[in-house]
Amino acid sequence: MDDTLIGRGLKRTPLPRFLLWLAPWAGLLAFGLYATYLCFAHGLNQTNMDNRFAFGLWIYLDLTVIALGAGAFFTGFLLYILKRTELKAVINSAVVIGFICYSGAVGILMVDVGQPLRAWFTFWHPNVHSMLTEVTFCITLYLGVLAVEYAPLVMKNRRLKEIPGLLVLEHKLHKLMVVFAGIGTLLSFFHQGSLGGLYGVLRGNPFAFREHIFIWPTTFFLFILSAAAVGPSFVLLTTWLVGKVSRKRLVSPEVFQTLGKISGWLLLVYVVLKGIDSLVWINATSPKTGVQVSSFYAHPPFGTWILFAEVVLLGLVPAVLLLSRRVRARTGLLVLAAVMACAGVVLNRYVMTIQTLALPSLPFDSFLSYSPSWQETAAFLAVLGYGVLLYSISFRWLNLFPEERELAAKG
């Protein structure tokens, strides 16, 4: 059974070893599902969030995985719209990663809200002025688009394509993939932006609030750019990691270099704009509310180093590294640069979520701290477990890397 599902010419580890690999991840998933059961059964008192720290680990992770999952839309955009055909080598994997990231984020969001059964209210009574409305609409729809992009991979499974009609549907869907890539790009553009807008519109929080361009705060545009910049880096990283874990060559080195180069350029543009935005914020936006920016960084350990790390160390430096041909020629350095680029965005999302909430607002408030409860951590680990499970299964039974077979034949 298992043998007949594995693509022709692909070497996969024996089934028992594969199941052994899955076991710990399944365990993690089960443990996390137990934690989410506790949250559903007893309420969000199972978390360490409170009335002051109303967003926590979960929202931070939602923002992070959605930024990293941007590789799906951006690779699709480059391949189907800008016709960068060399990216065919990673598009399938990018779609699976995107699907995992988005479905994981939506799953966690459903635990995070107090009344998940009322989620449809947003569609029924939408407040179109809320960034969260835009996020909800776009993410829901985009998850559907990702599912549509995922479906052809499943239909092309060696066994499933023997089912009459299934491959025909795949063929027709594939022909129309440019539509889904376009829609995916549009939707991603808006929800990545709106996730940034979530904080940029907070008029009551001078740390998060930013100047507006038309109806959008600058964080709207910065989030789009940063997500597009690290999306390819994350695809590079996951592809490299899967290659290491499975001990296989999955794509040719040129694909890595292309991804790195695209990431580098976008990251450079992002860092420049982020720099300009920070200067405007430091010199105009924040002082207008009577707050000097330095006071945001007067609460150790959240010193100015964090801004430096975000913009220079994990922004400018990886951008320069990724743009260097010599760095790209060495896989080790390229991967390191990609890790740094991703870390920069992970840090940015952390700062936007956690520092925003931790800073005091009322005159007699103090800097707050919060550490997630085991239930929150476990629910997050469940997403990790789910992701590894779904990816491993996809990698075993679907043909995620079209170049793998030929690279394996070359030896």
Partner: protein, 271 residues
């Protein structure tokens, strides 16, 4: 959300936002419907086999896609981009028009009877006197497969499409389908012992334009031996060309079990 909702506000923000959302949703759903409808139409019009074949062909390594006129040396290094459907091929039409009969030279040690037509996927087709055709595995495929562990022939009455699946077989860990050289209806199932596997009544007059015969078939078999060598060059314990190449007599034993599925797929043109 719907304008009928009691608290719907018809201000520009709402109208633009919900309008865009509705348009995107309609595009997604509409595209899915278009895909589903055209897939259904393709299936009912019997195009499923051809689409499957196109898909297989696309996924094959480029070494498997050499043009038939490259096999014979008429057009060196040319690869086919129309899934071996020579009927509409201009290059083919031109070359056939001024083709001299190729000399029937070396067949690479394979038995290539001259009364048959050969499909690039290694099925042969033999026109019978009663207007039907018989199908079977050619000598290379027979030696490559060895003794099949299963052989799934379609029942009498089943429709076959050119390049679509004719029958399936397995050998060891390998499972592979054999592409049909003809469109028609199965009228009799044979067996390895009977010397043919299927008897088919073709739709309309027999069309053999995409099939190889005579000297072209001989050249094909010689070149297929090279391709086989290439396909298993990565496998361990296989005699290399320098050792005098593969023994034609016992091809199936020359392929390591773990590579059998891949090699069979590559040679029998199933991705």
């Amino acid at each position: 959300m719907l304008p009928g909702n009691t608290d719907f506000i018809a201000d520009p923000f709402n109208l633009v936002f919900l309008g865009v959302f509705a348009a995107v949703l309609a595009t997604v759903v509409g595209t899915l419907v278009v895909a589903a409808v055209s897939a259904r139409r393709a299936v009912t019009r019997g195009k499923a086999a051809s689409i499957l074949w196109q898909h297989e062909f696309e996924e094959l390594p480029s070494s498997a896609k050499e043009c038939r006129h490259a096999l014979t040396g008429e057009l060196p290094g040319r690869h086919c981009d129309r899934a071996f459907e020579c009927k509409g091929c201009e290059t083919h039409a031109k070359l056939v028009a001024d083709a001299k009969a190729l000399p029937f030279l070396d067949t690479g040690g394979f038995d290539v009877p001259a009364d048959r037509y050969y499909h690039r996927g290694h099925a042969w087709l033999k026109p019978e006197e009663d207007g039907t055709v018989t199908l079977g595995l050619d000598d290379l495929a027979t030696r490559l497969v060895g003794k099949p562990s299963t052989l799934d022939l379609p029942p009498v009455g089943e429709r076959l499409a050119e390049n679509g699946p004719a029958f399936r077989l397995s050998a060891g860990k390998a499972r592979v389908r054999i592409a049909s050289p003809v469109t028609g209806e199965v009228v009799e199932t044979g067996s390895l012992a009977k010397g043919f596997l299927l008897r088919v009544k073709p739709d309309g007059p027999l069309d053999t334009r995409a099939l190889l015969s005579g000297g072209e078939a001989a050249a094909f078999f010689t070149r297929e031996m090279d391709r086989l060598q290439l396909a298993i060059s990565g496998a361990r314990g296989v005699p290399a060309l320098a050792d005098g190449g593969l023994p034609v007599g016992d091809l199936s034993k020359a392929i390591p079990e773990e590579d059998r599925d891949r090699v069979l797929g590559e040679m029998l043109l199933e991705a």
